[in-house]
């Protein structure tokens, strides 16, 4: 019987939350046993390998938040300044493009460790800019255009 990957995914995520985000001490070996029980005995070697690795990872708590540089914090400030954008379509596009350009410039000066994290902040700026330029559905001011 093949492994039910979506069910295992959901079960692992819930077990991880019970272990590390519930505010209560969890029973690691019991949680791991429950997850192992979801892996059929005749699952493929690949499925047995990665699920065993993940079940082992369940013991690891999340790390503390990263120490961030001033460049990173400046990028956050720019993001806050421009997202969500305000004004007419043209003004919003200009705001988003300007924010994206400024954050990208900061990323160019960042360390290798932070560069990609800073660039990632522009993902939703770019996405919203694309949607305003060429919306896949017309953005409206009223919430329920079909009602």
């Amino acid at each position: 019987m093949p492994l039910d990957i979506p069910a295992f995914n959901m079960a692992f995520n819930r077990a991880y939350d019970r272990m590390h985000h519930s505010g209560q001490p969890g029973d690691l070996s019991a949680e791991q046993d429950k997850l192992r029980a979801l892996v059929p005995a005749d699952a493929s070697e690949h499925d047995r390998t990665w699920t065993a690795q993940l079940i082992g990872d369940l013991a690891e708590p999340p790390p503390p938040p990263l120490e961030r540089s001033e460049l990173y914090r400046e990028a956050v400030r720019i993001h806050i300044e421009v997202y969500p954008p305000k004004g007419t379509d043209e003004e919003m596009i200009a705001m988003l493009a300007d924010g994206r350009r400024r954050i990208w410039e900061l990323a160019d000066r960042a360390t290798a460790d932070e560069e990609d994290d800073i660039r990632a902040m522009t993902d939703d700026l770019q996405s919203m800019e694309d949607w305003i330029r060429d919306p896949p559905f017309p953005l409206t001011d009223v919430p329920f255009p079909n009602a």
Partner: protein, 340 residues
Amino acid sequence: MPESGERVPEDSPTYREFTRLYDLARQLQPTGVDRWNRELYATSGPGGFDQRTGAIGIHEPLLRDGLTRQPTESPRRQARALAMVLNRVTQAGMAVDAPGEANAVGTKQAQGLHDGVASVRTTSDFATFTRLAGYPRLPFDASELSGAYAATNDLVQQASGPRVDRLELINRLSQGPAMMHFDQLAEAVVQNRLQEVAPPEGADRQAVRRELITTMLHPQWDSLAQRSPEAGQHVAGEISKALNAKVDEIRQRSQRADRPTAADGMQQQRAEAPAKPEPKAQEAPAEAKAAEVPAVGKFLSGSAPAGRAVAKRPQLGQGSRRPTGQPTKGPAPAQGRTQD
């Protein structure tokens, strides 16, 4: 895409690895939609999922250096590359438009929520995806994500509860369509807090959800997408209060509607009985009770600083893969974490 992009050849190792990852990510959370047109671009900018053509773009250095199963000098780049794949897969895996749906939301917030859902799903499934794909355990910090993530994460947290927990809600949202995301959040609120008084699926229940959506589209909603923890906490608190008040209003209105005419003494007596309380933890399945979780009423007070929302989690939740409208089993607090 506005930025320049170079088509990745389909016979290249990068393209083959991307398609392998794409298929695996879809196995984690299958959807009935696949809009990727099989074109992959290495972009000079952030890239994205092109809603018009179905092409996927990812920043070139991430594709070049990040998509390898071997340990590298930059595991954070590997992590970011895998996260981008999950994000694009999620966006390509859902429709956007919902023609004719009365509860479809077409405002700018709906677009932001669409991006946010992809980011929240990415965070939720990152650890499983990494291992499923045969990559080493990689560092990925959810707080690195964008404003759309912060706003969406908070709304998902506020709508989660004992019947539709956070993970179940993320799963539903990942199915799309994007214009119905607010309606899906509202349905979760109905199931978690108004199930006893809500009408069955139909025009009346849709109207209840529209009231809740309007509350979620609070004038300050946009501020949730800003990552200032102080501003985020304030707005989340405002929306939380507004949602609580709206839930109470709908509940009371429903009970008044149940109130009979004066001629019906029996019904009058029943109507004047104390209002039916919101579902409590004891109504949850045994597994949830075992976790000694608090009552449901806490859920919509779960406001977190927007930029740190992953650090605050509801204490109770349950639900599994069931169609909308059916209670589910199994506790599950909020998801979203970091790992190293």
